[in-house]
Symmetry: C2
């Protein structure tokens, strides 16, 4: 085998983007041999735009059992991610799953068990992990040279969306269709990067505001306070309504500070560990010596293509994935904890009671409002 036969399940905004990239030859080790979509309009688009050899299905499960693919890319609404992933793995297909891994961790835990039992490749579409700056932050923070983390502050308010975005899909921004708002749709990348770079907090206290800026039932404005096992604290702020938004990720450590903003990574490196300095300096207002450097990276940022290339590489040559599928549960644990904290109005320890979360989610699903989607498919270029 020198090319992976890929089926794409779901060709809405994201699936269509992946389709176009592959059709343009940007991932040469992958060929699209099938697509599935429940929308007649999207299937018609597929028949017009895909090679004649590509099979078109209404149901993802039919695509999976048709025997025309080695692997599937799952880009359907979030609730169906675990079910289709499990089904595909159990039918011997490799799986690349769009983010988030699912809507609630209990469901994703089952998916991870299926993946552990299977010998197939399971990857998550955490394309932001291909970004040279986040890779460098991961390397510097987890490398240990900067000492322990003391504080994290990520303001990521640049996920701007208009009302027409929310009006475009009937499942979009509903408890029943998506299981959440900005935390489930836009922030899975940030949730994943946050845990990948800084590790998992042990406690979360979040303040989510539902339909604050848009006519939607789910949250479009979130402020979360985090506590880490070593005592470090953090703040995570997001919204889809700030213009222009900010994307500033600051990590303070014992040996200095990293600031990622405007596609630059700045390192403030201390000459000595602050914890030692604090205890030994004679002057009350003394400060440790510090040098400031803009960090050079390898400049590579392959995004979705990078994730898909690595996925094909793992299948064909056993080379590393960008993100293992089973790691998807970490970011979801974070967002579930934020939702639960806000719903209950109190701080939530991690791990939290997964059954309690599900119960609270089901309450919201059962009163979820039905809406008509405009069916418009937006070009997502540069928006994820």
């Amino acid at each position: 085998m020198n090319q992976v036969r890929l089926g794409i399940i779901g060709i809405g905004n994201m699936g269509t983007g992946h389709c176009k990239n592959i059709l343009q030859g940007k991932v040469p080790e992958i060929a699209i041999t099938a697509i599935a979509d429940r929308s007649e309009a999207r299937r018609a688009w597929a028949k017009e735009n895909l090679p004649e050899t590509a099979a078109v299905y209404e149901e993802g499960k039919d695509l999976i059992t048709a025997g025309v693919c080695d692997a599937v890319l799952i880009a359907v609404p979030h609730y169906q991610h675990p079910e289709l992933t499990i089904y595909a793995l159990e039918h011997g297909l490799h799986v690349m799953c769009e983010k988030p891994a699912g809507v609630y961790t209990k469901q994703v835990r089952e998916m991870n068990e299926a993946a552990r039992k299977s010998d197939r490749v399971f990857g998550m579409m955490f394309n932001q992990r291909t970004n040279c700056i986040y890779r460098k932050m991961h390397e510097l923070v987890t490398g240990g040279e900067l000492g322990a983390i003391k504080r994290v502050n990520w303001i990521v308010t640049d996920w701007y969306r208009t009302q027409s975005y929310y009006d475009s899909g009937s499942w979009r921004a509903t408890w029943d269709g998506e299981g959440g708002g900005v935390l489930l749709n836009q922030c899975p990348h940030n949730m994943d990067l946050l845990q990948w770079i800084c590790g998992m907090p042990k406690k979360v206290h979040a303040f989510c505001h539902n339909g604050k800026w848009h006519d939607i039932e789910v949250e479009d404005d979130v402020t979360a306070y985090l506590e880490y096992p070593n005592g470090a604290t953090g703040v995570f702020v997001t919204t889809t309504a700030d213009a222009p938004g900010t994307n500033r990720f600051e990590v303070t450590l014992e040996m200095g500070k990293l600031v990622c903003e405007n596609e630059k990574l700045t390192l403030y490196k201390l000459a000595e560990n602050e914890r030692t300095f604090c205890k030994t300096a004679k002057g009350g207002f003394d400060k440790p010596e510090c040098t400031v450097t803009e960090i050079e990276t390898d400049g590579l940022n392959e995004q979705h293509m990078g994730v898909l290339k690595a996925f094909a590489g793992r299948i064909l040559h056993g080379t590393p994935l960008v993100a293992e599928g089973v790691e998807g549960i970490n970011g979801l644990t974070l967002s579930n904890a934020m939702h639960l904290s806000s719903w209950l109005g109190k701080g939530i320890e991690i791990p939290f009671e997964e059954d309690l979360f599900l119960e609270e989610l089901e309450k919201r699903r059962s009163s979820s409002r039905k809406k008509e989607g405009s069916g418009v498919v937006f070009d997502t270029e540069g928006s994820y």
Copy 2:
């Protein structure tokens, strides 16, 4: 009268700084005619460094009743601010009070009542209000041209202090001596600017950590979440242990965003109100047009000298103060609410129960640890 005869009560770190500035002729309309300090060493310093004509007292109240001053500058530990202010006003003296206005709002409310009954000038040493950048932010945000506030984010972690700072004064960083830590000693400026520029929140949820980075009993690390009457939210983060710290104050409004960092003020101005754009734009990923400008200011930043000059100006010529004394209660209300929220582990609505706050404070005072101060007086240049 063409010069104000000033008595300085308390010549520790701050009082000494004021003394030196005035002795160096930086505030020509003020002459120091008396000082008071309970420390023999500080009185000896005064006798050596002040003109022979300046009277030296042990007790502030003796200075106030001696008839040698028109005005007093109160720079003693915080608990005594209201008592001495009231005493001075009642004895016909003008008062400039160091920040914070006091330790608990109930006490400060009494001070404000005394000020309202008096015809004397009462100012607060909010020297940061003289900073051209904060003045400009105040003008732009309260001016209305940028629309309503949507979000506030102030990371002010550049109040670095070593352990030796805390060891220098027996009253420092104790519940009984100071009534708090970074919120009461370093942050009164930020609390005041926050309310001066953005108005008062209606609810505060804070996470204060006591003695997290230093051997002290009060808080040296705070993260607070704020909710404003119009629904806007905010985050305020501070500590005395981050090196190098950050001072980044971001205010997002309907018509754009202001970011104050590294002594620069940047305005991101939208071509149209985001609230209108969101509802009318056709594209799901459309964004309002935005222009970015570095805001020019008048460049003036007179700090303590500016506050003292304005104080003399008000006394001699009726010109405006930098900050009215009665406004000191606002910032203290904020920090009291943060303390109370953290003590009770829940969100606190403003106005809060002042008696409850005092009760909780007294609990902490009664078990406050006694410590010996090294008595070292640090040069505070550039540190406040």
